[in-house]
């Protein structure tokens, strides 16, 4: 369960996030949708605690991301935008490194890595060094290592970026599997179809604020647009600063 209440964040004169609030409940997939530069990544980075909000607060399963950041991180599996792997380590070693850092005992690491390799279907290239991996292979390994400590909350920043059809499809299946396991999944995207296909809740963000937070049907009703893309554009235009 992720709860965001009225967070603000500026970088110098640029106000990246100005007052975003939403809840992402367990057992549901919440999508952050918005144009480039809307503040999606900044919001997510605050949630996985690499940035601190200027004002407002956010909690992960009740743990505050600023005051109890270590606790919060324990409950999160995060895939930052453009996450990189260690090219000289094999896929398995990359995952095992994160498992060890997350405090898994030496005996359980092996087993856990085996499970995750099977879950993400990366057995074919698990023993290879990640140098020269395709974008799809890299993303899968990056997701695998962020899930290695079995977190309750999963935050994915534009996970489908650069993935081909097959890879996107298996990513979608994984996200649904996580939802069925009762996890809280929060992911960002600027691809409309992906959000519609997956999300129970959609949070449309523009200019650092929440434009609409509703289900896909709810958004259609609110904006009076049948087509979600039109609804999206309309919502964003309404947010245009005067």
């Amino acid at each position: 369960m992720i709860r965001v209440s009225d967070i603000h964040k500026s970088f110098g004169d640029v106000r990246a996030v100005s007052g975003i609030s939403f809840d992402a409940p367990d057992g549901k997939i919440t999508g952050l949708l918005g144009p480039n530069g809307a503040g999606k990544s900044t919001t997510l980075r605050i949630l996985y605690t690499v940035l601190k909000p200027d004002a407002g607060s956010a909690t992960i399963d009740g743990a505050d991301v600023v005051t109890h950041s270590l606790d919060a991180r324990r409950r999160i599996g995060a895939l930052p935008h453009g996450a990189g792997l260690y090219p000289h380590l094999t896929a398995r070693e990359n995952i095992a490194y994160y498992a060890a850092l997350c405090g898994l005992s030496c005996d359980s690491i092996e087993e856990r890595v085996d499970n995750i390799v099977e879950l993400l279907d990366i057995g074919d290239f698990a023993e290879r060094r990640t140098k020269g991996f395709s974008q799809g292979q890299r993303t899968k390994v990056a997701i695998a290592r962020s899930l290695v400590h079995d977190p309750q909350n999963i935050i994915l920043d534009e996970p489908s970026n650069g993935l081909d059809v097959m890879a996107t499809r298996s990513l979608r299946e994984l996200i649904l599997k996580l939802k069925d396991a009762g996890r809280c999944v929060l992911f960002s995207s600027h691809v409309m179809q992906e959000i519609i296909a997956l999300c129970d809740d959609i949070v449309i963000i523009a200019h650092g604020k929440v434009a609409i937070h509703d289900t896909a049907d709810g958004i259609r009703n609110q904006t009076g647009c049948d087509d979600l893309e039109d609804a999206f554009v309309k919502a964003i235009l309404e947010m245009e600063p005067a």
Binding site: R73, L85, Y86, H88
Partner: protein
């Protein structure tokens, strides 16, 4: 404690698989330094030895005017050869470098000598050229020797003892020991070791900070349930190990290189046995923490791998500065110098190679102050790692 150990193990494994790190840590410093050193010293030995032993070919204009002098030169291992046609040609030849030294014996030389007035002999050389300067000195020494000989003969002929010409008898007592003389040349080796040490950890320092950020692996790492202090500790520890490895290898390779340098021919017997080898490692080891912390600190400030490389090359040179200043001013080791990292290690090393007893207080201060500065820099690194701006 487990997290730093995990990070440490991973960084060591990762970098052992990285060819660039391996080459710089295990090849560049350890091999390049001693090889260069051996090469330079061998060259200088060869040159200084050949100057004394080799017959010097001396072009002389008007050699027929002074056959006795020519025979004297011959006895001093200087071969007289036919010189250029006239004085103008001789000046030209020296200017263009065809000849290093030319001697001109004018036609009136014999007459002047017979009349007892100082006979003029011209020595033409370009003193700005070190090689020519050495040759000119040899010829001048020979000419002076001949001059003294004639003077002594003239005095004896007048019934005066030649010793009246020598009111002073200067006796040079050189107290420098063979190992002491080595120190001058081997003084530069302390910098080689510090260089090799820093070189060994340079790519790790970059890779663990700027490299990790550029690769995009830093952000997911920071999102893990570990503190940043623990991460940076593990990273600095891994850098330390590579530095120590590089230092040990370069000490070993230096030890072997010295066996192939005929230092004894220069009157030097450096004190560089296995025990000194070990002591050198121990004296330099506090510098490892300092080096790792400095490099990590500087690399964390940079935006990219390339920028980090540029800055760290400057860091590689920084330890020479105090060594250079003290060498130029030829200052003796003093207590306050021991507070300065790199300088204190250099001075202690020179003392050791000179086979002089080490001052325990000096060693103590050197070790403590270097370690303390290293600890402070490590703490600074950790502070810096907590910044948000770290992600760039």
């Amino acid at each position: 404690m487990r997290t730093p150990v995990t990070v440490f193990k991973k960084e060591v494994l990762d970098n052992f698989r990285d060819r660039r790190t391996l080459i710089s840590a295990l090849l560049m410093g350890p091999l390049f330094g001693p090889l260069l050193f051996a090469f330079v010293i061998n060259l200088s030995i060869e040159r200084s030895l050949s100057d004394v032993d080799k017959t010097l070919d001396l072009p002389v204009i008007g050699s027929e005017n002074a056959s006795n002098l020519m025979r004297y030169l011959q006895s001093r291992n200087i071969d007289v050869v036919a010189g250029p046609s006239d004085r103008e040609a001789a000046l030209d030849a020296v200017r263009t470098g065809t000849h290093d030294v030319v001697v001109i014996v004018p036609a009136e030389y014999g007459q002047q000598l017979a009349d007892g007035i100082p006979a003029r002999v011209e020595l033409i050389s370009d003193q700005a050229n070190a090689q020519a300067g050495r040759k000119a000195r040899r010829v001048r020494d020979a000419l002076r020797g001949y001059s003294r000989q004639i003077a002594a003969l003239r005095l004896s002929a007048r019934g005066v003892s030649p010793s009246v010409m020598r009111p002073l008898n200067i006796d040079d007592v050189d107290l420098s020991t063979p190992s002491g003389r080595s120190a001058i040349l081997l003084g530069m080796m302390s910098y080689f070791f510090i260089f090799a040490l820093l070189m060994g950890g340079m790519y790790l320092a970059i890779d663990t900070t700027a490299g990790e950020r550029e690769r995009g692996s830093l952000e997911p790492l920071l999102a893990l349930p570990v503190t940043r202090d623990q991460l940076i500790l593990g990273k600095i520890a891994a850098t330390c190990v590579f530095m120590a490895l590089s230092l040990a290898l370069s000490l070993g390779s230096f030890f072997f290189a010295l066996k192939f340098i005929p230092l004894q021919q220069l009157g030097m017997t450096p004190n560089f046995g296995p025990d000194v080898l070990l002591a050198t490692f121990l004296i330099l080891s506090p510098f490892i923490l300092l080096g790792a912390a400095v490099m990590t600190l500087v690399a964390s400030f940079t935006k990219s791998y390339k920028e980090a490389q540029t800055w760290l090359s400057i860091v590689l040179l920084a330890p020479t500065l105090p060594i250079l200043i003290v060498s130029i001013l030829t200052l003796r080791p003093r207590l306050e110098f021991m507070f300065v990292p790199s300088l204190s290690q250099h001075l202690l090393l020179v003392d050791m190679v000179k086979n002089e007893p080490l001052n325990a207080l000096h060693v103590g201060i050197s070790v403590t102050s270097t370690l303390a500065i290293g600890a402070v820099l490590t703490w600074l690194c950790a502070r810096l790692y907590r910044r948000e701006g770290l992600l760039g």
